[in-house]
């Protein structure tokens, strides 16, 4: 008896111990690279943060680079290049990478959560001014004549260029230096299932009503969408808040679940900030980062009834914003509008899945929940999904599309998803001159070269590779492979668009859309530079001194905060930001 108990205990213990080593391993090093130890080829090591955007884009870029430089000698006695990739989600982002970068074996880094000034203060990044400002003509065989710097948006360029001097008119009088490049564009938002909209007739007609029967955006009676113009990408989508929530109500009684998201992550927090940006527009929203300009949408006072509904509002006069009073921008009306939007979702349990508030639902699981909802029998199809723009690529590299293709409803190449333009607050905001505004933090992703490379030939090789990755062709291929964009300006030709998934085309088409503005949340204002972490969007958008920063949690009735109203939340946000300013950012949050 004793022996059998001992045996059973041992077996149980072994099983438990085995669970500690059971984990997914996405790390791949160059050990199986046949040229890794070839002394006749120059070796270059690249470290890649694999989360979200994966590594397929990098694998293909490396293939093209190695082919291009197959017969070029970077070192004496060697010909060609072999690029070894180390790709992982561990140790490839944030402060832990910065701390180890100088002694790392990798030469080139593609990383996330890298605060530029933390990187430069650590002395971990090499000066790459020459390749950023130098002509791309040589590396592109004459196809491009500009430089990488020419492709920057002004805000992102000013942030990444250290030490430049400008005159009162903003003209540059002294150039600065570059130590890193922005890596990928990473906006968050609401994504929708186009196939589901087609199947269930969820598109809205010219009267704002769902068709109710299977149809497509090509229907003659289709509505204009938020841009107020027929024949554009958003035809048939809800134009206003009223239409949007009427559609959600329609979904709930017609066998469609409106929303799902990952309860373990606060994606709605960032995604809802896009509505704030969209309401304000590029100029007003960017004030939050430039801290220079005139604010025109600041709320002065609010009144509410005993149910917490806002019954009245007064606005502040146009206010000159500078570094001393930029906390006033927490009063922007776009924030209030977004809280109203969030409240209508959060307080209606029929609008979202139970997983949406479960910390056991990770982003990967949530992607599966969303993708499987329409293809697996017995599940309620889900229309909308709060996530980051990289979600389709991440789901693909995790095998979700492949796994679900067995149900015969398509894979990544055939399934259709779109990026929902936020509906407008009121009917009067729907017209042919309105604009869509998207903000982009790039997740503080950046590419840099290790500063401690002593071999001049290897440094030249690393710089050549990095510059190669920012040629137009490589930027386009990045978009083709990931269905996302790079945070620089470039065109995407029709033949490359044709190779992309439906979702990728939807994302890429925004680049060429004259009515879409991108706001990169970067600036070289001293307050921003010295407190970049305080401008981290989830905290910056909705953080306060009293309530949960995630609007979907704060407004979720079951969270025990039902007594907190929008007015209280709004005032708490304003109070907290003012407190941060008053204490010089030596703050509690």
């Amino acid at each position: 008896m004793k022996k059998s108990i001992k045996f059973l205990s041992l077996a149980l213990a072994s099983l438990m111990m085995a669970s500690t080593v059971a984990a997914c391993n996405r790390e791949v090093d160059g050990n199986d690279d046949p040229d890794a130890n070839n002394a006749n080829i120059s070796q270059l090591k690249v470290l890649n943060y694999e989360g979200g955007f994966g590594r397929v884009w990098l694998d293909k870029a490396v293939e093209r680079f190695e082919e291009k430089y197959e017969n070029v000698s970077f070192e004496e006695g060697k010909k060609g290049v072999n690029v070894q990739i180390e790709s992982s989600i561990n140790g490839t982002a944030g402060n832990s990478l910065i701390a180890n970068a100088k002694t790392h074996t990798a030469h080139v880094f593609f990383a996330e959560d890298i605060l530029l000034y933390s990187l430069t203060a650590a002395g971990a990044a090499a000066d790459i001014t020459d390749i950023v400002t130098g002509s791309l003509s040589t590396i592109t065989d004459g196809k491009e004549t500009g430089s990488i710097a020419d492709k920057f948006d002004t805000s992102i360029g000013n942030y990444y260029e250290l030490g430049e001097v400008r005159d009162a008119s903003g003209n540059k009088t002294q150039s600065g230096k570059y130590y890193a490049l922005p890596h990928y564009s990473a906006p968050k938002g609401i994504f929708y299932d186009v196939d589901l909209f087609n199947e269930k007739g969820l598109w809205l007609d010219s009267n704002g009503q769902p068709f109710g029967t299977a149809t497509t955006q090509a229907n003659e009676d289709i509505g204009t969408g938020p841009d107020g113009e027929l024949g554009t990408y958003d035809d048939g989508l809800p134009r206003t808040f009223d239409e949007f929530f009427a559609l959600c109500d329609y979904m709930t009684v017609n066998g469609v679940m409106p929303f799902t998201w990952a309860g373990a992550h606060d994606y709605p927090t960032s995604a809802l900030a896009e509505l704030w940006a969209d309401f304000e527009g590029k100029e007003q929203f960017y004030l939050n980062f430039s801290m220079e300009g005139t604010a025109t949408t600041l709320i002065d006072t609010m009144t509410e009834d005993n149910k917490g509904n806002i019954t009245g509002m007064t606005m502040m006069p146009e206010t000159r914003i500078n570094g001393d009073n930029a906390y006033l921008l927490q009063r922007q009306k776009g924030k209030y509008v977004t809280l109203e939007f969030a409240k209508k979702i959060a307080e209606n349990e029929a609008y979202y899945t139970t997983e949406s508030y479960s910390p056991g639902e990770s982003n990967i699981m949530s992607q599966y929940t969303y993708l499987a909802s329409r293809v697996m029998s017995g599940r309620t199809p889900i229309a909308f999904f709060f996530e980051g723009v990289w979600w389709e690529n991440e789901a693909d590299e995790n095998g979700h599309f492949r796994d679900l293709s067995i149900y015969g409803k398509g894979d990544r190449t055939t399934r259709k998803f779109g990026w929902l333009p936020y509906p407008k607050y009121t009917e009067s905001m729907v017209h042919e001159n309105n604009r869509r505004t998207i903000y982009d933090t790039t997740n503080n992703s950046c590419a840099f070269i290790r500063s401690t490379i002593t071999d001049a030939n290897i440094m030249k090789l690393a710089k050549t590779f990095l510059q190669f990755c920012y040629t137009d062709n490589e930027l386009q291929e990045f978009t083709v492979n990931t269905s996302t964009l790079k945070p620089v300006n470039y065109e995407i030709p029709t033949d490359k668009m044709a190779r992309m998934s439906y979702f990728g085309k939807d994302v890429a088409s925004l680049v060429n859309n004259e009515r879409v503005d991108y706001v990169y949340t970067f600036s070289d204002h001293p307050i921003f530079v010295n407190h970049v972490d305080k401008f981290y969007m989830p905290d910056f958008s909705w953080g306060d001194d009293s309530y949960n920063k995630n609007p979907m949690r704060f407004l979720y009735a079951k969270a025990g905060n039902a007594s907190a109203t929008i007015k209280q939340k709004f005032e708490a946000m304003v109070r907290d930001r003012q407190n941060q300013w008053n204490t010089g950012f030596n703050t509690v949050n």
Partner: protein, 347 residues
């Protein structure tokens, strides 16, 4: 029994065979070593020389761990102390960091928050709640279970393995299993909603339950080891005198393991503002301003996140020093009164 005897007999046959081969070899090597020892000149070590040798050996063994302690603990804490009086900024022209002395500004900021910020007051409350539950529920249950195991009642081995096993597994793995259990299994079994999705009090209670349950093992082990040192003669005498298990627990076991209990109480009190109750393991940054935050979680969150910069560290250092200044007198006072209750029994 017969098999065992046969086994022994087999071994001795093998053993004697091996001895026949290797004994002459080892005897020969011994003779050689004796011969060499007798032939070599013998050095007479002085007492001083011997003491120096011992001292060098002693310090050579200690050098590396001592150096590590100095670098990783003393220097780090001195640096943290200095950090509390500084501010970090970045020179926007060069990207280099600029460090300035700002006196007690960081302390002032933290103290204002500590005494008036609603979120901070909530964190203090939660820290006390976590400590109180650890003290009155966790510690009590750990002592009771330890006594149960010490007395060898039914299921002792099962409890010993089951309750201690969480201590040897990764907390991240355990939390993941627990989350899936309370979010997926319990709703299916009982038809209720997941325990971590809704009401904030239920969420917090679910997290605290995990902390209590997983903390059993180490506490139970320490207490049962302390109980194991009680002389058997004492307990046998008590039993002969008609002492019931409960009376034995109250009048013999508890007083004799009191020093161990006192140690754990002091340690628990000193962890009051450090304990983050595994909130980060459960929710990562998602527990921020959630109503569940403890001070320990908040301070960890301030400096740990991958996107934090050095600009946050001085404030966190000042917060740590302030909390230390509060904790030390409390702990010393508690220790004084707990020592008074110690009967000073030795065995």
């Amino acid at each position: 029994m017969k098999k065992k005897k046969e086994k022994l007999e087999k071994e001795s046959v093998v053993g004697s065979f091996l001895k026949k081969i290797f004994r002459p070899v080892s005897d020969g090597m011994y003779d050689v070593s004796v011969f060499v020892h007798n032939k070599l000149p013998k050095k007479q070590k002085s007492a001083t020389h011997k003491r120096v040798g011992e001292t060098v050996f002693y310090w050579a063994g200690l050098a590396i761990p001592l150096l590590q302690f100095i670098l990783m603990y003393v220097v780090v804490n001195i640096n943290s102390f200095i950090l509390a009086f500084q501010s970090y900024e970045y020179n926007i022209m060069t990207g280099e960091e600029v460090i300035e002395w700002i006196g007690f500004t960081n302390f002032e900021t933290f103290w204002n928050a500590f005494t008036s910020n609603p979120l901070m007051l909530g964190r203090i409350k939660n820290s006390f709640v976590v400590y109180g539950i650890h003290l009155f529920v966790g510690t009590v249950l750990a002592i009771l279970f330890a006594y149960y195991v010490y007395k060898g009642f039914k299921g002792t081995e099962f409890f010993r393995v089951t309750l201690f096993m969480p201590s040897i597994l990764s907390p991240v793995v355990l939390v993941m299993i627990y989350i899936q259990f309370v979010e997926k299994a319990i709703p299916v079994m009982f038809g209720v909603e997941g325990l971590l999705a809704g009401d904030i009090d239920l969420k917090f209670g679910t997290v605290i339950f995990y902390n209590i349950f997983m903390g059993f093992g180490s506490g139970m082990l320490m207490y049962s080891n302390a109980m194991g040192r009680i002389p058997d003669s004492l307990t046998e005498y008590a039993q002969l005198e008609g002492c019931t298990p409960i009376k034995e627990f109250l009048y013999i076991t508890l007083p004799l393991i009191y020093p161990t209990i006192e140690t754990f109480l002091i340690i628990g009190l000193s962890n009051l503002f450090i304990d983050q109750a595994n909130l980060f393991t459960f929710f990562m940054e998602g527990a921020q301003n959630s109503g569940m935050e403890t001070i320990g979680y908040h301070l960890f969150q301030t400096v740990f996140t991958e996107r934090s910069s050095m600009t946050s560290f001085p404030y966190a250092a000042a917060a740590g020093l302030t909390l230390t200044a509060i904790t030390i007198p409390v702990v010393m006072t508690a220790r004084y009164f707990l020592n008074k209750l110690d009967k000073g029994v030795e065995f």
